[in-house]
């Protein structure tokens, strides 16, 4: 027998008779949902990192304090990437008798490669932001663009001449948005943007000048990765690569959490797909028992029956998966269209990877979960043709489902792209299946044992649950798993969004004031009061450099870690405080008590401690303005850098640092309509360094907002897959139910009685799955939040209520819709069909 040909023919016949609709539907929607998530995630991830890259002005930046080798540019150009370079350094700018220290940035054509530079010609005017536009290019040779603060301090107008070193340059525009503005020493103070061509004329580039050289690179993500790996071994000391993640910790955290969430959503859709396919495959085999028995009776060998259906499933799996992938492609395109209003960057075309992944996942899931019932079909006893009560043996169920779970496990690790996250979710689901199964059986048994005491329709409802105990447990577990995936996602999503909102509230500090002197504290307080601005907390700041650790002199160049080198070469900001800040968390040691005032101890930030290899109990010695200061590390702190508040690497108790030269620092929120106040502030306190992070915060908030939208969308799609599971679950026992209804109705049961009995049955089933889902989601939500996403966990009673409510209402509604035909078709039709 040519099994393949016969299989094709049988497939066609099954298809024609509508036997495969549920399975195909489940497969297409599952694969479709999964690939939509896959494609979309792929594109959103690319888009998000590109969006993030706007904050860097490029996809990749090489930074050095020495001129960069031409080889880097050469290699980037060879790969077909775009390049541009910039130099940043502090210098004095003079206008007439007035002068000021500014951060100069000299750029070459093409800058910025990502994001946009916006300028205005209304220099120094309050309304300047409203009339700004995208800068087409960079300042022309001989002209400069000035930052808002510089314009205010020197009262600049368009056409004014300023002296930059030996060069005299014309003020042409004011910068309103600089994409790669970042907090750092060189950026302190007002900004001046000049054309790199004018640099030699200024005479400012000399041996020993403090200059930061940057090479900006942009282009195809794959090529950027290639260049990155080429660069890594070729960089010399003092040179480092900056991607968005290296440069902006707050964006890094947001992106990484969003990516993890999207992986989770993808994994949830895999679980939903598996549940739907397992249920649909089970129904398929149940309906094919008789056919197999007849074929065995007509002489088909066991393996022939197996191959017949195996080919069946492979062909079906391939076709449905491809269709699912195409659906996914279409759906994500629609999604992108919808999102285009929000995502300002052009979304890159997705890679083909989700397509291949979708087909493989579809096939693996189908075979993984359809194989166990298939292996059982192979051994349907031929005697079933004489004795219909002889069912299927479940000999292969355990090994078979183990195979399915194994396949699912591999898919999980693959889809998660993060072993820890994948393993925790997978273990969660496996434990859940075992616990749900056992609990389901016990609960059904308990509930059924009271059926003799129940009256009327309850009795029949309970009896039905018990009669279909196995099916009921399978249905409740599958539904429970699906709902659990959805609830977990809901829980995590809520936590994630809330966490971001708390991290960056709309009134997050957007201005830093540095270099406040002690005698200015009082006048500053009054200034804030006059201008109706909330009094911010002011922190003392002492600058010092680490000279020795535990008595050994520190040699920065002996450290292999680039960060350690940088940290040890420059001056640290030290501060003192009585209480620990709310965005700080002690992870080792203890914060001091008030009686420890004056004790030479300090609390060190975790990242710094790790980089320079310092642990609890070590003694650090600092050079503070020529004096020596030593203190023992008494605690290690974790600092939430996403908060944009003032934070310090090293903090001591009060009473020891006060004797050293101290300045103060503060951060505060200035609403956009009060920006004019900044000019007054700069005039009143000319020695202040003002750092404006409003632009950065707006950009970060924009990125987070887009990540949020993306997450909401992906969630919606996962929800749709959940509906398919519900459909597959209800339909899996539909045949039996229709047959029973026919018998009941023949025996005189009224429609109302039947409906009540089913409502009881479905409600118990839904209640069980809701209970399982809430249990699982609470546990899994805790594990994922705590260990994978580093989010604080809070117990959520709503999850239990929602789980039970959605379970009961959803299953009852779907169940009644699914079985309504049993109430309308004449019993004789059903009975004749079955016989």
């Amino acid at each position: 027998m040519n099994s393949f040909k016969l299989s094709l023919r049988m497939l066609h016949r099954d298809l024609r008779a509508g036997e495969l609709h549920v399975l195909i539907f489940a497969l297409i929607i599952s694969v479709g949902g999964m690939t939509t998530v896959g494609f979309f995630t792929d594109r959103v991830q690319l888009a998000l990192s590109r969006q993030g890259n706007q904050l860097l002005g490029a996809d990749l930046v090489i930074v050095s304090d020495r001129p960069l080798s031409q080889r880097y540019t050469g290699e980037a150009v060879k790969l077909g990437l775009n390049t541009s370079s910039s130099l940043k350094f502090p210098s004095m700018v003079v206008k007439g008798d007035d002068n000021i220290l500014v951060g100069i940035k000299a750029v070459t054509a093409g800058y910025p490669l990502r994001g946009e530079l916006r300028i205005t010609e209304d220099i120094g005017k309050a309304a300047s932001y409203r009339n700004d536009h995208v800068a087409n290019g960079i300042p022309s040779p001989g002209s400069v663009w000035v930052g808002e603060k510089l314009a205010a301090r020197l009262a600049l107008k368009k056409g004014d001449i300023i002296e930059v070193g030996e060069a005299r340059l014309i003020v042409a525009s004011q910068i309103t948005l600089e994409p790669d503005y970042s907090i750092g020493f060189i950026n302190l103070g007002p900004r001046l943007l000049i054309n790199a061509i004018d640099l030699p004329a200024t005479g400012l580039i000399q041996q020993g000048s403090r200059i930061s050289y940057r090479l900006l690179i942009s282009g195809n993500a794959g090529l950027i990765t290639t260049l990155r790996s080429w660069l890594q071994p070729n960089l010399t000391s003092g040179e480092r690569i900056q991607g968005i993640r290296d440069a902006r910790p707050e964006i890094k955290a947001a992106l990484e959490r969003a990516e993890k969430f999207l992986s989770l959503a993808a994994m949830a859709s895999v679980v939903l797909a598996a549940a739907a396919i397992a249920l649909a495959a089970r129904r398929f085999t149940m309906r094919h028992l008789d056919g197999c028995a007849i074929m065995r009776c007509l002489g088909a060998r066991q393996n022939e029956v197996l191959y017949l259906y195996l080919y069946h499933f492979i062909i079906l799996g391939l076709v449905a998966s491809v269709m699912g992938c195409l659906l996914g492609l279409l759906a994500q395109e629609a999604l992108v269209y919808w999102l285009s209003a929000m995502i300002t960057v052009e979304l890159p075309w997705p890679s083909l990877f989700p397509f291949v992944q979708g087909i493989l996942v579809g096939l693996v899931l189908l075979l993984g979960f359809a194989l166990p019932p298939l292996l059982n079909l192979r051994s349907v006893p031929a005697l079933r043709v004489l004795r219909r009560d002889i069912g299927i043996s479940n000999a292969h169920s355990l090994t078979g489902y183990a195979l399915g779970l194994g396949a699912l496990a591999v898919l999980f690790l693959w889809k998660a792209g993060d072993v820890r996250l994948g393993l925790s979710v997978m273990t969660g689901f496996i434990v859940a299946i075992a616990v749900f199964g056992l609990l389901g059986f016990l609960l059904i048994k308990t509930i059924s044992s009271v059926r003799s005491k129940a009256g009327g329709t309850w009795k029949y409802g309970l009896a039905s649950i018990w009669r279909r105990a196995n099916s009921s447990v399978v249905q409740a577990v599958a539904l429970g798993l699906g709902l659990m995936a959805l609830l977990t996602l809901t829980l995590i999503r809520g936590d994630l969004l809330q966490n971001w909102q708390t991290t960056l509230p709309s009134d997050a500090p957007n201005h830093f004031l540095v270099n406040i002197q002690e005698n200015q504290l009082q006048p500053l307080q009054e200034f804030f009061k006059q201008n109706d601005i909330l009094q911010p907390s002011v922190h003392p700041m002492v600058r010092g450099r680490i000279t020795s650790i535990n008595g050994s002199i520190v040699m920065p160049d002996n450290y292999s870690n680039a960060r350690a080198k940088r940290l040890l070469k420059r001056e640290f900001n030290l501060s003192w405080a009585n209480e620990i800040r709310s965005d700080n968390q002690i992870i080792d040691g203890e914060w001091w008590q008030s009686r420890d005032k004056g004790k030479a101890v300090l609390s060190l930030e975790k990242g710094v401690a790790k980089a320079i290899g310092v642990k609890l109990g070590d003694t650090l010695t600092f050079d503070i303005a020529g004096s020596t200061f030593s203190a023992e590390v008494s605690s290690i702190r974790k600092v939430d850098w996403d908060s944009f508040r003032v934070n310090f690497f090293a903090v001591t108790p009060p009473g020891i640092l006060e004797e050293y030269p101290t300045s103060y620092i503060t951060s505060f929120y200035l609403p956009e309509n009060q920006m004019d106040m900044m000019n007054q502030l700069i005039m009143t306190f000319p020695n202040f360094l003002v750092i404006d992070v409003a632009t950065i915060i707006t950009q970060v908030q924009k990125v987070i907002e887009q990540v949020t939208k993306a997450i909401e969308f992906v969630f919606l799609f996962t929800l749709l897959s959940g509906v398919i599971v519900l459909y597959a679950a209800v339909i899996s026992t539909q045949d039996e139910r229709i047959y029973e209804a026919a018998i009941f109705r023949t025996l005189g049961a009224k429609r109302r009685q039947l409906i009540s009995a089913w409502v009881v049955e479905f409600a118990i089933l839904g209640g069980l799955s809701g209970l399982f889902a809430s249990m699982g989601a609470s546990a899994l939500g805790y594990v994922i939040g705590r260990f994978a996403l580093n989010l604080p966990y809070s117990f959520n009673i709503w999850i239990w209520l929602i789980g039970l409510f959605v379970g009961v209402i959803g299953v009852v509604a779907a169940g009644m819709i699914g079985t309504r035909s049993a109430l309308t078709s004449p019993p004789i039709t059903v009975l004749r069909r079955v016989s």
Partner: protein, 228 residues
């Protein structure tokens, strides 16, 4: 008698016994059955409900395994064969007609008849099936699904399917059990007609005396034993 000695029996059951375990007791369904059926014979197995008729038929077809005893089909000891060996033997030698027709609901009438031929890879299955459906008077219904056919029509399709492989032995389990007497008679007529035409041996399980009397020999089962 001399002829019977020369003609090899197509079915031979020796000391066939079947017990089933029911909770803690053991029920004997068939006990020490010995029978021979020769080629061309039409044998009916009769008896009350629960006398073991269907069990005996299942054992003779190798659909079930006996507790002890042997069955030879066309000279082959079927229980020395594997499950697949027996399936192959069934495909080669046997045809079945059941009380509940056992048509595949997803296949049309002609596809149901074609199925045994397709399983053995016969190339012109459609043509052969079509001829036979014509023979049983269903040429106008070939593309109908079982649920669109009456009981009698469904049984005709089942008979066509049983004869399409030219079986040496046809086993029928209460073929008229689900039909009214007039339709039942037509079905039995059809079976006997095809049986004669094709020289098939027939073993028929029934509790209908009239049908049984049309067979060449009757075997009566009482409490799992052949009544002499």
């Amino acid at each position: 008698m001399t002829d019977n000695l020369i003609i090899k029996p197509i079915v031979q059951a020796i000391s066939l016994t079947k017990h089933v375990k029911s909770s803690d007791t053991q029920l004997t369904i068939l006990q020490d059955i010995n029978l021979e059926v020769s080629i061309g014979e039409a044998v009916s197995i009769v008896g009350a409900s629960g006398s073991g008729k269907s069990t005996l038929l299942g054992l003779l077809a190798g659909l079930d395994i006996p507790s002890s005893g042997k069955v030879y089909l066309n000279g082959e000891d079927i229980f020395s064969l594997s499950e697949d060996g027996r399936a192959e033997l069934r495909g080669r030698l046997l045809g079945f007609v059941f009380q509940s027709f056992q048509l595949l609901p997803v296949l049309t009438a002609i596809e149901n008849v074609m199925l045994p031929l397709e399983l053995t890879g016969v190339s012109n299955a459609r043509k052969i099936a079509l001829e036979l459906l014509g023979h049983v008077g269903l040429e106008a219904r070939v593309n109908h699904y079982p649920k669109q056919l009456s009981g009698g029509e469904q049984q005709r399709v089942a008979i066509a399917r049983a004869y399409v492989t030219h079986p040496k032995l046809l086993l029928a389990d209460e073929p008229t059990g689900n039909l009214d007497s007039s339709t039942g008679n037509q079905i039995v007529d059809l079976m006997f007609e095809l049986n004669r035409e094709r020289g098939t041996t027939l073993i028929l399980v029934t509790h209908d005396e009239t049908i049984s009397s049309r067979c060449t020999r009757q075997i009566k089962l009482v409490g799992g034993k052949i009544e002499d």
